[in-house]
């Protein structure tokens, strides 16, 4: 008996996924996760003027795309616990809704991804492009799982969120600090 080492060809099931998304949190469940002891979340949506947007950009070094921000004040009875902010960042392929929780003194308490979407619009809608993949399946019946999860391989960096945290810390200093 001896051990032999073999490289074996496997039939490949290939799926061209034009878009897949995972919802991790609703606003309510993210609030609950960030401030489990809170008894109330008071909406305090903030509208930014052009000057305020520029001031945040200057302070954080990060571009401000939107002139409004979804913000909640978290309290336990009358005690102020901190801020809960919902934000969006857009990368090359991915679109992320995420939440930042700031403690009462403005420190980062937690960052939660609420929804993560990846889209490959042009490339995948292109019929020729699809054909080069779909023609290659070896006998396997192609069935696009409506729930594509557990993907291995190069995923994207979280730099857009890191920048988003910087931007929201400046937003807090300029707009919310009490």
């Amino acid at each position: 008996m001896r051990n032999v080492i073999q490289w074996v060809a496997l039939p490949a099931l290939v799926v061209a996924a034009p878009c897949y998304a995972t919802v991790y949190h609703t606003v309510e469940s993210a609030q609950q996760a960030c401030f489990p002891e809170a008894t109330q979340f008071a909406s305090a949506g903030v509208k930014l003027s052009k000057e305020q947007m520029r001031a945040i950009e200057k302070d954080s070094g990060v571009r401000v795309r939107l002139d409004s921000q979804r913000v909640w004040r978290a309290t336990k009875n009358a005690e102020f616990l901190g801020w809960f902010i919902v934000d969006e960042v857009i990368g090359k392929h991915e679109f992320i809704t995420w939440a930042l929780a700031l403690s009462a003194d403005g420190g980062v308490q937690s960052v939660e991804v609420m929804e993560y979407r990846e889209t490959y619009g042009y490339q995948i809608r292109n019929a020729d492009w699809r054909a080069q993949f779909l023609g290659k399946k070896h006998g396997a019946k192609l069935k696009l799982d409506d729930d594509v999860k557990n993907i291995s391989g190069a995923t994207f960096s979280c730099r857009h969120i890191t920048d988003g945290v910087k931007r929201l810390l400046s937003f807090h200093d300029i707009m919310l600090k009490q």
Partner: protein, 287 residues
């Protein structure tokens, strides 16, 4: 709340420079798992000047330094991997990565030390016997996944899954369907055999290359040649632990079929995906 089947909860946070997704049957297990990942990030980040890795890179050449159990364990694994791969897997490639602009900072001269020059001393002390600089980018992510799984088990969870930017591991009864990204086109996915109580990691660099001073470089370095490992295929490795899976993807990327005997030693299997969708896997069989 989210959910997939079986009342599973899935959460995701930006950690380790990527997105870490954790699924389990209850929130307590998920919080414990994220805490474990955050601890590994604090200890082993190359970028954070306060991490143990940064401290070792600065001072361990001057004398023995105490480190945490976790850092010591990862360095011991790095030693074993260096040894069994004849130096292909080497964590002392930070000078090359800095020179290529993939890691921040400047290498002082060109330290020639290797993983074998790291002395792992009694009582969790570490000393560098020659000037060298380490980067745990090739294994710390896998190790963080292993620690997260351990934390979930300790908190009483009976099944769960951790996916740190494509390095993933699951435990429990259920088989997990896993997909791997196409090496050239991240929107296309190939299905791999289902995973049960095992880890899977993938490495590829056909879409993360850069050109620097007329030279094509990437984040993967062959420890023996100190040259970038440029490959058009991707490598996925299934192994009992995510640290081993993570590390061995780099070895198979560098050595191809010649890495097969190393896979066998670690109880691992490799899958190679070529740009034309040819999928092959390596296994050791008794003939």
């Amino acid at each position: 709340m989210t959910s997939c089947s079986n009342n599973e909860v899935r959460r995701c946070r930006p950690l380790l420079g990527t997105f870490v997704e954790i699924a389990a049957t209850h929130d307590g297990a998920i919080n414990a798992a994220f805490a474990a990942v955050e601890r590994v990030q604090r200890q082993m980040s190359f970028h954070d000047a306060g991490s143990e890795v940064a401290q070792l890179n600065r001072y361990a050449v001057d004398g023995p330094m105490p480190v945490s159990d976790e850092t010591y364990e990862v360095l011991a694994w790095a030693w074993e991997l260096y040894d069994r791969t004849d130096g292909v897997f080497d964590i002392a490639v930070a000078p090359e990565l800095m020179q290529w602009g993939i890691l921040p900072g400047q290498a002082a001269g060109r330290p020639r030390g290797r993983t074998r020059d790291i002395a792992l001393l009694l009582g969790r002390f570490v000393q560098f016997l020659r000037p060298l600089q380490i980067d745990l980018g090739g294994i710390a992510k896998g190790y963080a996944v292993d620690k997260a799984i351990e934390a979930m088990r300790a908190s009483g969870a009976t099944s769960g899954l951790v996916n740190a930017g494509g390095d993933l591991r699951c435990f429990g009864d259920r088989e997990q369907q896993v997909w791997v990204r196409h090496p050239r086109t991240s929107g296309a996915l190939l299905r791999l055999p289902a995973l049960k109580d095992a880890a899977l990691a993938t490495s590829a660099n056909s879409y993360q290359r850069q050109r620097r001073r007329g030279r094509v470089i990437c984040a993967h370095v062959d420890g023996r040649t100190r040259q970038p490992v440029l490959r058009s295929f991707s490598v996925s490795v299934r192994a009992p632990s995510c640290l081993v899976a993570d590390a061995l993807t780099k070895v198979v990327l560098a050595r191809g079929a010649a890495a097969a005997s190393v896979l066998g030693q670690f109880g691992a299997t490799a899958y190679i995906v070529r740009p034309d969708n040819q999928l092959s896997y390596c296994e050791e069989r008794t003939a």
